[in-house]
């Protein structure tokens, strides 16, 4: 009898507890999503209104401009801050955030909700979600596929007098380049040329020093001339891979491109400066992440068929492009993790992903990008697919920030300031990176 009373009390207690728990989970929360301040973020604000309607939760957004994004958000994570419940963090943060416990591991959640990483573009899973790389440990859902590619002034390329002049000078037709050398020729051809009564320049490339700009640019040349981050057979062995003969040539190529074919004063340019230079009609070619392409198409000066797009051209050492993009993670310090997971579950749905693509976000879901109508859905869609097939990413190690800044310093010092030789710059980079990995206990 006594036992049955106790059992009843326990059951009643559990029922009350369960009731409280279910009422708590059903409670509407205010979720804060942190990301960079750029066009796709505005598209996500619009898209998230559907989530608010369906779930009853409200969404707040904290967007920080790219040059300060890593500083601001990594400070937030490192201090265990509760500003963000959801973080669309850069791909390179994944290692540090996983190892430092900033992100919630999502494997169980994915399994429970039937979300499988096989449904996403493999490069984005590796780049944005996995840590350690190549293992099925997921800390994010691929949210925004991005890659460095090129935009060019199709209307200039199509001018008969320009085509004629190019053919006369280079002996071939003027069209989107297939190799990096061809790209340099085209940029050199346009440098200082007068078009429609205005002096124009060759190419806007990444040269920014403070955050990650020049690294995100130069790697597009380095990879394609033979640069490798380390020995594929012996991880963290750098000498002979980072500073290989091919890598040196790749770095020299990027410097030549900067010296010969960029607008004056472009010594510290990144995404927004390149966009401005292109849209204002200063340059014929623009290196930039794919996220800008919807904005280019919609621009009254350069959109509506005046621009063309092509994947980063190949080089003598291979064909790659720098991966951008991000995954969406649940911040471990958030006290609204259930609601945050609900958002991820909603976001992973194919119809939401389809809408994401239509509103200017680059979905990484195979169902969207492998749809037969995808390639022709936008003028840049095929280039996006071609580019995503050749991506390579920077280190995603916990020490990525030190690795990145060392590369920023060494490359900027050679390419922009013109100090030393390419070989010296890459040798110094090997020394810097070796010291960092020594501190990390990798040797």
């Amino acid at each position: 009898m006594k036992h049955s009373i106790l059992n009843s009390a326990a059951i009643a207690g559990l029922a009350i507890g369960a009731g409280l728990a279910s009422s708590a989970s059903a409670q509407a929360d205010e979720l804060t999503l942190c990301w960079a301040a750029w066009d796709p973020a505005n598209a996500l604000v619009e898209l998230s209104k559907d989530f608010e309607k369906q779930s009853g939760h409200t969404m707040k957004f904290e967007f920080v401009p790219w040059p300060n994004f890593a500083d601001r958000m990594l400070n937030e994570l490192n201090s265990g801050g509760q500003l963000c419940d959801l973080m669309i963090g850069d791909s390179q943060w994944i290692g540090g955030s996983a190892e430092s416990g900033h992100y919630v591991k999502l494997n169980d959640f994915f399994e429970q909700e039937g979300i499988t990483m096989d449904d996403f573009i493999p490069a984005t899973v590796t780049g944005y979600a996995e840590w350690p790389k190549g293992t099925p440990n997921y800390w994010a859902l691929p949210a925004f596929g991005d890659v460095v590619g090129w935009t060019y002034r199709k209307d200039w390329f199509e001018k008969p007098e320009i085509q004629e002049a190019f053919k006369e000078e280079y002996g071939r037709d003027l069209k989107a380049p297939e190799t990096l050398e061809e790209l340099k020729d085209i940029a050199a051809f346009f440098q200082g040329r007068e078009i429609d009564g205005r002096k124009v320049y060759g190419a806007a490339i990444y040269t920014e020093r403070g955050s990650e700009g020049i690294t995100m640019g130069v790697t597009n040349a380095l990879y394609n001339y033979g640069f490798q981050y380390d020995n594929p057979d012996k991880p963290y062995e750098l000498d002979g891979f980072v500073n290989s003969e091919g890598a040196v040539k790749g770095l020299e190529f990027y410097k030549e491109l900067y010296d010969c074919c960029t607008p004056p004063g472009s010594s510290d340019w990144y995404m927004s400066e390149n966009i401005d230079a292109y849209k204002s009609g200063q340059v014929a070619l623009q290196m930039n992440f794919a996220f800008i392409w919807p904005g280019v198409e919609a621009d009254p000066n350069v959109g509506g068929g005046k621009s063309g797009y092509f994947a980063n051209p190949k080089g003598p050492g291979g064909h790659f492009a720098q991966l951008g993009g991000q995954g969406i993670s649940v911040v471990a310090y958030s006290d609204k993790q259930d609601a945050a997971l609900e958002y991820i579950k909603w976001f992973a749905q194919p119809e939401v992903q389809q809408k994401w693509w239509e509103s200017g976000g680059y979905s990484a879901l195979k169902a969207v990008v492998e749809d037969p109508g995808f390639a022709s859905s936008q003028p840049y869609a095929q280039t996006f697919l071609d580019s995503m097939a050749i991506v390579k990413d920077f280190w995603a190690e916990p020490a990525y920030a030190s690795l990145l800044l060392a590369m920023q310093d060494r490359v900027h010092d050679y390419v922009i300031a013109g100090n030393g030789t390419a070989q010296e710059a890459l040798d110094a980079l090997v020394e810097d990176w070796t010291e960092i990995f020594e501190d990390e206990g990798k040797y």
Partner: protein, 315 residues
């Protein structure tokens, strides 16, 4: 009979408080008053300083809370003092410090000397001249990047117009040879008015009677300038140099906005370099050692300088 303020304050003190205080000595009351300030200073100045020194002997990284910090002895100090790149930033800082101070003192004193000669509209000119120092350094840095823009910048246009060169043929913030001067020019533009104001205060503190006596002794204007004006303004000038020296040693915002430390590391001053080590590379232990070295350097130089300043004032 009038009541003194202290007596009025005593009579206004509530009896309960008065009874408690009556048993305390003057010294104890004095401690009671200064204790909150001392505690605050200990908490926000002295403790962080001691903690920084402690961290400087470790390999602690604030972004890796799960990793144990190891004691590394003097390794951080050794690395910093033998790192060629750090010396490059020191040289950049020295160049910036030297030329900004020289130019600001020369131009600031000249302006103060001219403004001090009362003329019509001198007050208006004073206001106009001090405007730059009222702006935010970040704003100044930002708009000077436009002035320095090779294709549309006013600075390049003026230089091109006066020299007959192509304005887009040079980039003040993109070329190694020009960038160090670009930041010197902007800082001088912004802070010369500050030096001018201090010099003006010095010039206006010189009694007219001294010049009248010199006139009676038939001293030339040149002699009056060197034997009266300069010696009497010198303590003010030295003070201005001290303020500008300390300020420019830790210069950050203006240069970050203007050049970001580039091209290469040409304008990466020590404060920018330190910030990158501490809050971008997250090498907390290393950055702590770096901060300690800079602190000792500034503190040492400032102490020597203040002693010299006091000697000048005693003369």
């Amino acid at each position: 009979m009038s009541i003194k303020p202290i007596e009025r304050a005593a009579s206004a003190t509530p009896q309960s408080v008065a009874r408690k205080v009556r048993g305390l000595s003057d010294r104890a009351i004095a401690w009671l008053f200064v204790a909150p300030t001392i505690l605050l200073l200990l908490a926000i100045n002295i403790f962080p300083l001691i903690w920084t020194v402690r961290l400087s002997f470790t390999n602690f990284r604030v972004n890796r809370p799960n990793r144990e910090a190891d004691f590394v002895g003097l390794r951080n100090y050794e690395r910093i003092l033998t790192d060629g790149d750090i010396w490059v930033t020191m040289q950049a800082t020295a160049h910036f410090l030297f030329w900004t101070i020289v130019l600001q003192v020369l131009i600031g004193f000249t302006l103060a000397y001219l403004i001090n000669k009362k003329f019509r509209g001198s007050d208006l000119w004073t206001t106009v001249i001090v405007l730059p120092m009222m702006l935010s350094p970040a704003v100044v840095g930002n708009f000077w990047t436009f002035l320095y823009q090779p294709q549309i910048g006013l600075f390049n246009y003026v230089v091109g117009f006066l020299s007959g060169t192509d304005p887009s043929g040079f980039s003040m913030i993109g070329e190694v040879a020009l960038a160090p001067w670009a930041i010197v020019i902007v800082d001088t533009w912004m802070w010369t008015p500050f030096v001018m104001l201090i010099c003006l205060a010095g010039l206006r503190s010189i009694p007219e009677s001294i010049y009248e006596a010199a006139e009676c002794d038939r001293a030339s204007k040149w002699r009056q300038f060197w034997t009266i004006t300069i010696p009497m303004v010198l303590p003010f000038l030295m003070l201005a140099v001290l303020f500008r020296g300390i300020e420019n040693f830790k210069m950050f915002d203006l240069v970050v906005q203007l050049t970001g430390g580039g091209p290469g590391s040409t304008t990466e001053l020590t404060s920018i370099n330190l910030k990158r080590e501490a809050f971008e590379k997250w090498r907390t232990g290393y950055a702590s050692a770096y901060a300690v070295i800079l602190f000792v350097t500034v503190f040492g130089l400032a102490s020597i300088y203040v002693k010299a300043l006091n000697k000048v004032k005693e003369r």
